[in-house]
Structures are given as structure tokens and as C-alpha cells.
């Protein structure tokens, strides 16, 4: 018998315990609603698991399982193998944080992709271990303040670069790997839909700001994720079988400070006599510049025509009307 609630069809329903302005909750709501309830969801340990299944309660209206932190891709491999054995074609989706993807879960993820399991792995990248109270992960960008990369007399925050996980994933030469963020819903939608139209291992990295961990106003989640893209720090790209097949071009590059200023996690870099901080800010700017170059985000094609704007619309910029895009380009 079909025991589903016929009236509430959203996969992640209201009443869960995410913080106000949680980018991960927003992203998960978008992604799971696009995929729908006819799928099996496997969740790694992390904020999403904790705030949706608190103490005998569940916000999930689809079959959902959490096992442990590191093994979600392997559990999903087993789920998918079982479905194959039973002749079913139910989609299998993993949801994990950046810790469960870049760090502790990377081995299981690599194994899952290498074996070609028909699974979509979605990483909600909030650039730190948020569930345990904002510790640095290998996704935390350079110079960020976390509780385990604290700035101090001898330190300007995290010493190491954000791991380029999408390239590692894409190096498995799998059907589809893409980055997205909550600021560009049409782009996210197109990517989820594309991923769901394909077979085999697929990967989505969704940048998901965390007001608590990034120390920003809860109302600015969308704006900050948009700035991450517009500064060039977080390029929106698509990769198929190891090659870049799509990028969301930028009308213009925003200076890195526009992004950093809004977040307390970068605050230690600013100040009148802070030479070291200035060095780190220049370094972050250089990293953004390099990414823009690498993916050609400002190439000649950024000559916006109605057609290319429509194309961009396909790729995202959801909050912008075509005229606004044009205006931005001409300014």
C-alpha cells in the first residue's frame, strides 16, 4: 500500500531544526524537491542529518537512511546494487557535507565512482565541519577562521588551500560532475535535471553558506553565495568524462573584498595595520583570478546578447531578468 501523504509531496518538509538562513537546508530542499520522493536518499552524518532527524523525528517524506559519517557512498553502492539485483530502477541519491565528501568520505566516494554505481552524490559544501562546531575541513578556503584554524599571533587562519575536489572527482572520468549554489536556482535546477537524466555515477557540489560558521547575517545567504560566484572564488562549472563542458560566465568580476567583508570568518584579515591580513586578501584575490582564467569565466563570449543571456539564464542567474543582466554587462 502507498502510505505516502498525498498532500505534502515535498521530500524535505518543514519543521526541521536548521538555523535561520541555513544554506544547506535551502540547497537540500531545492535538490530533493527537484528529484522528488520516488528516490532513495542516503545521508552522511553532519548538520543535514542532525537537523532533519532529531530524536525520533523525521523531516523526510522519502525513504531515507543514515549509517555513519564516512560510508554514505558505499551504503549507496549497496542500495543501488540491491535495486539492480531486484530489477528496480529507483534513483539513489547521497547527501553529504564537505567533510563527508572531501575528507572522511572521499575513499568511499572514489570507490563508488570507480565501480560505476548509478548514484547521484550531492555535496552540500559549507566549507567546514559545521555540525561539530565549525572546525576546518579540506574544503575550508585559505585564511579562513575556524575553531581549529584560529587566527593568532602566528597565524592568519587556515594555512592550506581549499581542495579542488571537483577536479579529483572528474578525474574518475564519470558521466557528470558540476558545481552549483543556492543563489542560482535555474542553474541548480538545470544541473540536477541533467544529472538525473544520466546513468552512472554523478556528482554535484553545491556551495551552501552557513550563517553560523561563516559568521554572516542570516538574511545574506543567497547574496553571499552569489558573491562567491561573481568574485570568481567559486566557479560554476560542468564536467563530463573529465572535461569541462560548461561554465557560467561572469558579466564582470567583483573584487574579493565584496565577498570577504560580509563574513566574520575573514574579519581578522582586515584592519589598519594588518599587513599579514592584506597579504592573505591579495592571495585570495589571486586565487579567484586564477580560477577565472582557468575556466575562462570572462572570455570574449561574455559579450551579452539576448541569446547568450538566455543561455546564461539556462545556466542560472535566476534572480536576474535579462534586462538586468544586460545592464550589469554594460555598466
Amino acid at each position: 500500500m502507498d502510505t505516502r501523504d498525498q498532500f505534502r509531496t515535498n521530500v524535505l518538509t518543514s519543521g526541521h531544526r536548521a538555523c535561520a538562513g541555513c544554506g544547506e537546508a535551502m540547497a537540500a530542499r531545492m535538490v530533493t524537491d527537484l528529484i522528488g520522493p520516488d528516490a532513495i536518499y542516503i545521508n552522511a552524518t553532519g548538520c543535514l542529518q542532525v537537523f532533519t532527524t532529531h530524536n525520533q523525528q523525521s523531516a523526510w517524506q522519502a525513504p531515507w537512511m543514515h549509517s555513519v559519517f564516512a560510508n554514505s557512498a558505499a551504503v549507496a553502492s549497496g542500495v543501488e546494487a540491491a535495486l539492480r539485483a531486484r530489477g528496480r530502477s529507483t534513483p539513489v541519491v547521497v547527501q553529504a557535507g564537505d567533510g563527508g565528501t572531501f575528507d572522511i568520505g572521499l575513499q568511499c566516494l572514489s570507490g563508488m565512482i570507480e565501480r560505476g554505481h548509478d548514484v547521484l552524490f550531492v555535496c552540500y559544501d559549507n566549507e567546514a565541519y559545521m555540525n561539530t562546531g565549525v572546525q576546518r575541513s579540506s574544503s575550508t578556503p585559505h585564511a579562513v577562521r575556524t575553531t581549529t584554524s584560529p587566527p593568532g599571533r602566528l597565524s592568519e587562519g587556515k594555512h592550506h588551500l581549499k581542495k579542488d575536489v571537483i577536479s579529483i572527482i572528474a578525474a574518475h572520468h564519470m558521466p557528470y560532475a558540476a558545481t552549483a549554489t543556492v543563489a542560482y536556482f535555474p542553474d541548480l535546477k538545470a544541473k540536477v535535471e541533467k544529472a538525473m537524466s544520466l546513468k552512472g555515477p554523478r556528482f554535484l557540489q553545491v556551495l551552501s553558506p552557513c550563517p553560523l560558521g561563516w559568521d554572516h547575517d542570516a538574511a545574506l545567504t543567497v547574496q553571499i553565495s552569489r558573491l562567491a560566484v561573481e568574485t570568481g572564488l567559486f566557479p560554476l562549472i560542468e564536467m563530463e568524462y573529465g572535461d569541462v563542458t560548461g561554465v557560467m560566465r561572469l558579466a564582470r568580476q567583483r573584487p574579493i573584498e565584496d565577498y570577504l567583508h560580509l563574513q566574520g570568518r575573514f574579519k581578522h584579515l582586515f584592519g589598519h595595520q594588518n599587513d599579514n591580513g592584506n597579504v592573505e586578501i591579495r592571495h585570495l584575490q589571486a586565487l579567484a583570478d586564477a580560477r577565472i582564467q582557468r575556466y575562462g569565466l570572462l572570455d570574449a563570449e561574455t559579450e551579452w546578447t539576448t541569446a547568450s543571456a538566455a543561455q546564461t539564464e539556462r545556466h542560472g542567474r535566476g534572480g536576474y531578468s535579462i534586462s538586468a543582466v544586460k545592464q550589469e554587462v554594460s555598466s
Partner: protein, 399 residues
Amino acid sequence: MKMLLEGSHAVAEAVRLCHPQVIAAYPITPQTHIIEHLAQMVANGELSSEFISAESEYAAASVVLGAVATGTRAFTASASQGLLLMTEVLFNIAGLRLPVVMVCANRAVGAPINIFCDHQDSMALRDAGWIQLYVSSNQEAVDSIIQAYRIAEACELPVMICMDGFFLTHAFEPVDIPEQTAVDTFLPPYQFSRMLDPKKPMTLGGGSEPDNYLEYRAALHNDMEKTLDRIQRVGSDFSQQFGRGYGGLVEGYRLEDAEIVFVGLGSLIGAVQDLIDQLREQGQLVGALRLRCFRPFPAAALVRSLSSAKRIIVMEKAFSAGAGGIVATELRAALYQAGLSIPVDNFIGGLGGRDITPSILEQIFHTSVSSDAAIDCRFINKDDMSHAEGNATTPGEGD
């Protein structure tokens, strides 16, 4: 059909008869031959399973976890370092109440790294919430795997069949491989009650807080204890249908009037039984008790079988560093709880594949009976048993 088979091959045949739809594993000596045989069966079309070569034991355990939660029968096998690498997932499988069946090809744990048999690996997992059955022969391994699926699926708890690495996994013995139809009768198709299914969406593995966590964990303990009955019953159903039995929880040997009883687990029991026969001929009232089921701990069955003993000698191949023998400690507690004060001598030996020869066993017997106080925990090391070393060999040499 009776065949001369390597233990690992026999295990693979038993697994094939149970139709697991998903098999996931990672190679480690002495488990490898089991999964190699299974891979070949799948490649030959003799077994219709998804064979998943996982990238680690951690992943292999996770794959079978996912597969069983999705309504299939699954199988994995490991040993030693691999079993310990699975630890987090094995606790999770038990907590999620998933009827997973696995084989542990018992092997020592490093450091120092050693590929040969002892029981340290599975003993380290004794608190995980897995039913653990230790087998004494390859025939028992075959029969216990078939029983394991029935037990696991009836109780919704995982079962680990522990078989001695090399001594069993690599030994060629005549083994009766049951007919498929007979196994199908004994082990009907199974439908997991909490399957991941979009038509009946359920949340598995959600969070719990101090106000209910304890009840979940206590229920795991209580349900584990309840499986004692089921293990016994499945064992007797099996012997009724197949004409072979292993006592269910414990298996006694010449216990009737025995005053001194050897207690042990695994393949060692064969040599112990030979010693019992020999000592009986000399007029000694000796017997042996093999612990087949170690988890749940069959305290009542042990007490029942041992209540008239005057002295008990526990021989085990694992220990809790800083505390001593594991089986002996638990047995002493069970006897104490039953109001029995029978001295229990504890010998730890056979570690890392060291042979426990008949002469060593004899030496243990004499050490035990000539000691006034109970022997708390004695390692059977080279110095201790030097005069009994005559036919001891270096492990692994010559085979």
C-alpha cells in the same frame, strides 16, 4: 553431495545455496579464497549476485548494509585488520537491526602483523551486537552459514560465522554440500520489514537523545539474549532436516561423569577430544565443552553443562590486554552468578597460528590438576611448555 573441498570453497558453495543477491568484499588472508570462489561462481553464471569489489573492508561492510536495507540477502567476509577496519560499520549494522551474514576467517591482529589464526579479531568485536558462532569443522561452517541466514532473518540481527583461518579455511576435508531444494525448504525467501522503498517511505538511522538512547541499546541486549532460543531451535530444525547437528549453543564431549572439563572454541576441539579419549583410557574423568555460540553468551547452557564439574580448563586464542582471557572471565562470572564456585584455569595459546599440539594440551592438563589454586591467566609460551615442545612446529611451515 559429499565432496573433498577446501574450507573456503565449501563456504562459497554454502553461500551460493543461500542466494545472496549482493556480495561485497575486500581481500585479506585467510579470507581471500572464499571471495575468489564466489567471484568465479558469479563470472560462470552459477550464482546470480551483484559482486561488488569494494575499495576497503569498511566499504564492503557498508555495501552489504545498504543492500540488506534495500531488501536483499547479502554476504561479506573478512578477517583481522579488515574486520577491525569494519568496526564502526559493524556496530551500525547491529544498531540498525539489519540481518547481515558474514564470515570471519579468524586471524591474529597486528602489531606485529601476522596472517595466521587466532581469535583476537572477532573477539574484539564481541560488544558489537553481532551473533557470533565459532565453528569446529568445514562441514559445520557450511551448515552454520545456511543456519545463519535463518537466524539473522528471524531475529533481524546480524550473524558472524567465525572459522579458524588456515586450520579450516585452507584445509581440505570431505564436506557434504546440501541439495539446493533442501536448502530452499530450510531457508525460504525473505522480505525485510523496514526496506527502503519510495512507496512506504521510512527514515532509518535517525538521531536519538539521552531520553531514549538507553532504551534502544537495552533492547539490543535483550533481543540478543532472546536469540539464544532461536539459535538452538534453528540448530535442531537443521539436524532434523539434514541429519547433522552441533548442539546449537554448546557442544559437549564425554561430559556425563566428567570432573575435569576442557572448554574452548573453534577447530582446536578436535585435538582436545583426542586427548579426552586418551585420558579416559587412563581412567581420568575428563570431558570437553565447545562454545559454539559466543554471542549472545549462553550462560545458562554453560552452567547446565558444567554444574557437576570439579575443575574447568579454558583454552582460548585471544585475550583482553590487561585483563586476561575473555571466555574464562565471562565463564567465571556466569558460574558465580549461578552460585557455583568451580575453579576455572585459564590458558591462552595458539596465538598468531602457533600449533597447540596434543602434547601441549596434555601438559596443560597436568599443570592444571597439579595446581592447588585456580590458574588465573597463563600464556602457553615457549619456556612454559618447553618440555612439551617435542612435536610443535613453526606455524605455516610445510603447508
